[in-house]
Structures are given as C-alpha cells and as structure tokens.
Symmetry: D2
Subunit: 284 residues, 4 copies
C-alpha cells in the first residue's frame, strides 16, 4: 500500500533557522519527513524548499495543517502551498491535429506514471475524437477562428470549471491562449517544439532547418501572457545533421516533445516545481 | 607511414551521372578512393560531395590535377576545392583574456589531433603572452579600442599575410571582427558561448541564467558580417539546473567551448566542411 | 507522389575502382543516384556501400537488375542485397506483458515512420490481446514453458511462414529464442534493456541499481545464438542518480527502449544496416 | 571574500526527527545553513544528508564542533564526517605516459575549479617530468615491475605521508594498485576508460571497437580491492559509429576521461560524495 503524504512548497526571504523551524513543525506534530530539498538564491535573497512527510502518525488533522503552518510562515514572510497525495489532480489535455503527445500522455497515465486523472480533451479540431473515444475520455471540439476566440475561450473556461480541472496541458494545441484566459486559469503547461529561447513562435522546425543548426530541442514551460516566454520546466535536445530535412526534424522532434512534456507534467503533478520570478526550481 | 591523399570538395547542380563521372576521373587516373560521402539537397537541387583518394599510384602529377578535374567540373556547373594532405595548414589563434580554449587547442596540437601548425597567437590583451612563450608560439599583442580598430585590423591582416595563415580561430577573442576584415580574410572559425540562435551577442551565460534555461550550449561557426549568424559547424550542450549560478554556467560552458571548437577546427582541417548558402555539410 | 527506388547493399574486398564500377552500372542504365554512402574497414580490407537510385528512367526492368549487377559483383568477390522501395516488408512483433514498445511501434506505423506492415503479434501471454484488437492486428497467444518450447517454436516458425513475415521485432519478448529458431529465421531485432555489453541477461535494471551506475542504456541488436551478443544496431542512454530506485530506472528505461528499438527498426526497414562480422554499419 | 563554512556528511538509520535534530544543532549554535540535501534509501533504511553552514556567527569554536555534534549523532547511531572550507586538501596525481588528464587537472586547478593543492605527481614513467617542471609541481618517478611492486608501494605510501596527501587521483595511471595499498590509503579516485561495468580491465577501447558499440563512456570511481568495481562517482558517454576506428575511440575517449575525472574530483573536494555500501550519493 502506498502511504499518504503531505507536501509543502515554500518560498521565503532567506534568514537563519528556516530549516530548523520547518523541520520542527513536522517533527513536533509527529511527522516523518521522507523527502526534503532546498535551494537558496543568494542574489534574490530567497530560500526555496520542498518538504514531504508521512501523514501516518501525524497529529494534526489534514484540514488544520495549513492554518497551523501559517502561524510559522507568516512571521517569516513565507509564501507556501500545501498538497496531499490522496488528492488526485484532474487534467485537461488540449490538442490540435497531432496525436503523438496525446497518445503518449494517455499511455503514461495507464502505466501509472502520472498521479492524476485525464478528465477532458479539448480541441479546435475534430480529428482526435476517435482517440478520445478509444480510451473513454470526454472530447470537446471547440473550433477557434479569429472572430470567435473570445467567446470560445469563455466556453473553455466554463468546461474547466465544470470538470474541476486543476491543470491544462497544451499537448501541441498550436493556438495562442489569450492573456485574459491565462489570468483566469494560470495552471497551464505548454510544449514548444524548439530549444527556447531559440525559435520563439511559429514553425520552429522550419526555421531550425533554415538556420542549419546541428541540434534541435523541445521545451516544456508554464504558459504566460508573453508567447513562449513563461518559466521553463524541462528541456531536451537531439542531434541532427545536414541529412535531416524538415520532415526529419519534425519526426525526431516528436520524440523529444513526448518525453519533455511528460517529464514536466510528472514533476508538476508530484509538486516538485516551484516557480519564482520567471524561473522554476524543479526539486528532483 | 601515413599515406598522402588528395581531397575534392564539390558543389554541383544535381543531375544524372555525377557519382560515376567523379569516380571515373579518379579511377581512370589510377587513384584509389579511400573515403567518399555525398549529400543531395533536393530543395536546392544541389549535389555536394567529398572524395578522398590515395596519391600513391595516381597518374596525374599534383599540379595538374586541378586543371584536369576542371575539364569535367566546368560543363557540369560545379564549384570545387582541391586539398592535399601533405600541405600543412597554418593557424592563427586569436584570444582575449581567457585561456581554456587556447590551452586546449595547443594540447590537441601536441597530441596530433590537428593536421596543422599553430603559427601565431594574436590578442587584444597581454595576459596570455606567457602561455605562448611556454609553448614557443609567436604572440602579438594588438590592443583594440573604438578609435583604433580600423588601423589595428590592417595590422592584423598584415600579420596573417606575413605568416601565411590559412585559418583564423577566434578562441574566445571577445571582439567583433569587422565585415571589411572578413571580406579580406574569410577563413575564420568562431566559438560562441551559447546554443545559437539563442543568445546572440554579448553575455549569453548571464542571459541564459536570467531566462532559466535547463540546458546551455556552445556553437562553432564561420564568422560572417552578421554577428553570430554565420554557417554553424558544430554545437553541443550540457544540462544545468537551478543550482547553477552564472559562475557555474561559465565553468560548465568552458568544457563545452573547448570540445565544440576543437571538433569544428578538426573537421575544417580535414576538409570535411562544405559551406553552401548559410549552412554547412560536415562529412563525417 | 513518392518516387520508387532501388537500393543495393554491397560488401566487397577493397580494391581500386569500386565506386566507379558500381556508379557506372547505375549511370549506364540511366539511373539517378539519390543517396550513396560507403565505408572502408581497412583492417578487414573490406569495402561496404549503400547505393539508392530512382527506378524512374532506369532502363533495366526490376527482375533483371539483380542478374545484371551480379555480372559486375561476382568478379569482384562482392556479396550484395537488392531492395525495392515498392516492396512493403511485413513485420511480426513479439511481446510479453509490457505494452510500451508495442504501443510505440504501432503509433509510429500509423504515423508512417515505418515503411512496413505490422501483420502479426505473437505473445507468450494473453495480456496484450486487447491492444491488438484495438488496432486490428492479428494476435497469437503461444504460451512457452520449459517443456513445450521446441514445439511452440515450430508453431511460431509456421506462423511467420504463413504470414510471409520479413522481420521479427522482439519488443520486450522476455524469452530466449533458441539457436535453432534463429537459424531458420535470422531476421530478428531485439531490444535489450541495458547498455550492452553491460548487464547481459536477466534483470539489467536491478543489476544497474545494485552497481550504482550514473547512466543507464538500451541496446537494439540482431538476435544471434549467443544471448545479447548479436550485432548492435543502436544504443542510447539516460542519466540517473541515487534518487532513482529500481522502479525509476524501469520507467526511465522504457523511454529509452522505445526510441532505441524504433530507430533500429526504421534503419533496418530503410535498408541502411549492413552486418559484417559481428558488427553493423548503419548508413545514415 | 569567500565566507568560511563547515560541512557535515551524515549516514544514519532512518527515524523520525532527523532533519529537525540536525538543523536544530546548527540553529541553536547560531549557524546559517546555506546548503542542505538529503536522501533516504528506504530499502536500506538509511538516511543520508549533507549540511553546509556559515562559520561566521557560529557560537562553537571549530575544534569543539565535532565533539558537540557527536553527542547528537551517537544516540542516533549516525556516522559522520566534518569538513571545513578553510582546510585546503592536498592532492597527489598519479600518471603513466598519457598527459591529457594531468594537463586538464592542472589547468582546472589554475582556473580555481578545485579547492585543493596539487602537491605531488607520481609516475611509473619519466615521460611527464617536464610537464611537472613547467608548472612547478614535484615529480617522483617510481618505476613499477612485477618484482618490485611491493617495495615501491611502500615508497609511494611514504611519499603520501610525507606530503600530507589527502587524495590520490589516478589520472590514467594504467597500473593496478594493490589491495594492501588501498587498505593503507583508501582515498583514491580512478578514471576508467569505459562505461563500467562494460569492459572491466585492460584495453576497453579495443574491446568496445571489437564489440561494435555505438556509444563509449568513461567512469570515475573510488578504487577498491576489486579491479574497476569500486563505488562510481561519475560517468559520461559519447556517440561513436562504424567510421570510428580504435584511434578515434581513444581520441574521443580522452575528452570524456578529462571531464568525468574532473567532475568526480571536484565533487569529492566539495565534500559532496557520500559512499555507502558500494555506491555513492553525490549531493549536487
């Protein structure tokens, strides 16, 4: 049986005694820390930590932990998130016409790589309806045009609310999500098919081919109002040569996109990603 | 004993029979091909090839090979270069204050990784004079300011001429070489400390740190009038994390810069790099 | 429309004029070479080449090409294979209980990465019957025990004959195929879940964990009578750390196994793999 | 100015409250933790941690810290090491005829990548005497034969004692150090020129070539009585192909050996490596 845990993600102005204070909070209440990691950004004067402990034997009931921890966090000026492993996050996968990331995410979900439910697929095209049906996942076709984008985004937001979605995964959605949308629903992971910040925007593989690069990449990042400029969670690369034409770059890139997106989603779902400024700390 | 070879690098509008015609030229004159590679860029309609053969037993004297081959090449509209392995190219290494690429190039030269002579070191600083002395290489200190750049470049060109230099290696020279200079001496390999086209220009490691990338890179390319935009010869990358500050990126980057520059210089010296458009074919 | 091609894979004692002779054969018959690559193993005195040319405009009918080429090849002592791009090879995928390689191969087939038909799935377990059904592929459950192996292999061979199978892909089959079987059907690609020759045999991930390696790998190779010792086609690796337990190695390894197997199968299907001795040349 | 720190490396049977107890020890004495990392091996029931804190403002004098910490450690059954950043470890580099690792270590030392002094070079050959002289490092030529090994090792041990050596780096020493020697001086890092456990023992590049691997590697590990079987600190790999002959593998391998050895030495010198069983935790 998998044991239930609680996880704190904390950002705090750096000062003496932080590790002791946070660890004491867990220990004093009978908790057993199974994973702790920390990072100090000395330039920013910021202490960032992730602490995970067993709920078994912990004296505080789950619904009082946050309040109790806040009594310690507030005087220190800390901001924090608290997550419980028995809460299963709900994902909406957004796709366009390409199926490789969708297939991959579904397969990984079946293989229990993700602690989550895939509750919903949203697409601006009908093409992957069949894949959704094959695996018994709800599919909503919401076509986007220049003219209807605003109202369609309202529909999308309504769906996310209706399905209690915690995380949107843009699995090659190929559409720009508006700043307004992101403000209403900021938990969005996007996969961009280049080694950002190279080739921001459209057709990165074509531009990589034009430039004659010897390596191509993929980048998973949180979506922000600035296109392809959000905090990077994960990147990886693969070597290419003059023998690879644009189709080869696209083919090789798909393998990258699949693993890079999957690693980012998995890290996020394990509450291992802490955003600060426009960067991430990924506690491994 | 290492056997002497001749190498042809050929670019030619694609057409039927090219491989046969080029191979027949070698065979008819008694040559034995020891390495041949080709690439067809179907979009550009261009056939690119590298052919290396043993001079032993070849019926044509060295000084007639070019003329004889041209009789075949001209009707096909081909452009070509002919190189002989018993010609030892002469390199000038240009440095600034950092010594890692210089040390590395010198060590590889001693280890016989490069078929070349390091004839000259040019620097805008006096710092590495001692290293040059240690290994018995001429060192010319040519300080560059905004005001004297033009005249100093004339001095540099004069030195290259005087030393019969075939290749300039910008081994962290940290100065922009003018378009005019490049026009007069186009055989220049530069190492840029980023994964181009990301972070063109100054301070790429600082900007990589700011952006929070998870991988950094280095790029060796031929210098052209457009800063950091010349044909890429080689790139490589290394993984970084939130734990790495700018100094760590610089340290890890040095290891990349050394090997990427060395691989590019070696490929160039082996006449394995064929530039077409703004790209390279690197025959391996 | 994709143009039809013929491909020759040739092994030949090294001698003067081989490139010219082979290229002339194509050119004299009106063929246009679109890809040619070669390798000389000087120690073995062996010349190995792959030549692909357009059938359009080629004067020899397909069924006479082999005979005509043999007239050139025989005096040179060459051995050769001839393949046509309009022949679609037929694959049998052999699996056990794990589905990741199977899913991946099927997805790539749908994505047109493989020039082949997946005609048959054979398994010693019934577990993946459903996957086969989902994608409309025949599934044969042939349980293997110590006692029935010999007769079951006869059944398997019979199935391969019946379905005209050209290539068997052991996609985590987890059983040793007998030397006798391989003698009757030698075209077998296996994926081994380690960086061979490290961790030959059973439980490589457990043994990698025990040994405390910092990198794990996967290897695709042709199956031979010696377990995990056949010619290697492709390998790749991924970094691991003390944080990764055996389950993590298995999870990370699956991503490797998928791409390494897929690259090997693709190279084989494109007739890019030439076996000589116990090694391969993979023409890229 | 670089601030002085103390570092604890602790191994301890896993139990509730360890993080709190260790952090409280630092905090109660006025210390500021700047880096802390931990790992729990659940199978082994072992908690492993590295804690580094500023000595400035710490109330305990340096020579009392160990004793004070032991009062906490002993009841928990912990074993521990205490290191101070103002103690500069002394290294002896052992070489044979190859200079690439030696040059690299010396260059990195000059570049301040290592917090250490290179006090001594020992070799079974006279070849690199000149390099030592060039950089002003003591060089002891101690030739080893089958017959004199025992007595020569006694001389070597005597030298290590005389120079107060803390760490021996076998930088391509190419000799087996006896179990007896290792028992007397266990702090030895070796670079092996293969991706261990593949190609244990002699001539790994030749054997890699014979086997036809597509990737080669290098491994830095602590030397133990079992040849090439000690705890692995760092590994890395590079891709090779059929075009690479043994000399190419050796050349490419040198680049690997240099960085892999350097990373391992650096991690060791920063007290980031904790050995347990036959494995390492490398706190990054």
């Amino acid at each position: 049986m998998i044991k239930q845990t609680a996880t704190l993600l904390i950002s705090c102005p750096d000062q003496r005694g932080l590790v002791a204070k946070f660890a004491n909070f867990i220990y004093a209440n009978g908790g057993n820390i199974i994973d702790a990691d920390q990072h100090t950004d000395f330039e920013a004067g910021l202490f960032l930590t992730r602490i995970e402990w067993l709920l078994e034997g912990f004296n505080l009931p789950k619904d009082l932990i946050g309040q109790a921890f806040n009594a310690i966090a507030q005087p220190l000026g800390a901001t924090w998130e608290l997550h419980f492993s028995d809460t299963v996050p709900r994902i909406a996968i957004w796709v366009s016409r390409q199926d490789h990331c969708l297939f991959d995410l579904i397969w990984r979900h079946k293989a229990k790589e993700f602690h989550a439910e895939i509750s919903l697929i949203i697409s601006n095209h009908p093409h992957l309806q069949e894949v959704a049906a094959q695996f018994g996942i709800e599919y909503h076709h919401i076509p986007i045009t220049k003219d209807n984008k605003l109202e369609q985004e309202i529909k999308q937001l309504e769906l996310l609310r209706q399905y209690n979605i915690d995380l949107v995964v843009l699995a090659k959605y190929m559409q720009i999500v508006s700043a307004n949308f992101i403000q209403h629903f900021p938990q969005i992971i996007n996969i961009h098919h280049s080694f950002l910040p190279a080739f921001i925007g459209a057709n990165p593989y074509h531009r990589a081919f034009e430039r004659g690069v010897k390596i191509i990449g993929a980048t998973a990042h949180y979506a922000t109002a600035d296109l392809d400029c959000g905090p990077i969670i994960e990147q990886d690369v693969v070597r290419v040569s003059h023998r690879d034409n644009v189709d080869d770059l696209i083919r090789k890139g798909k393998d990258l996109e699949r693993v890079v997106l999957a690693r980012a989603v998995r890290s996020h779902l394990q509450n291992r990603v802490l955003v600060y400024g426009n960067k991430t700390v990924v506690f491994e």
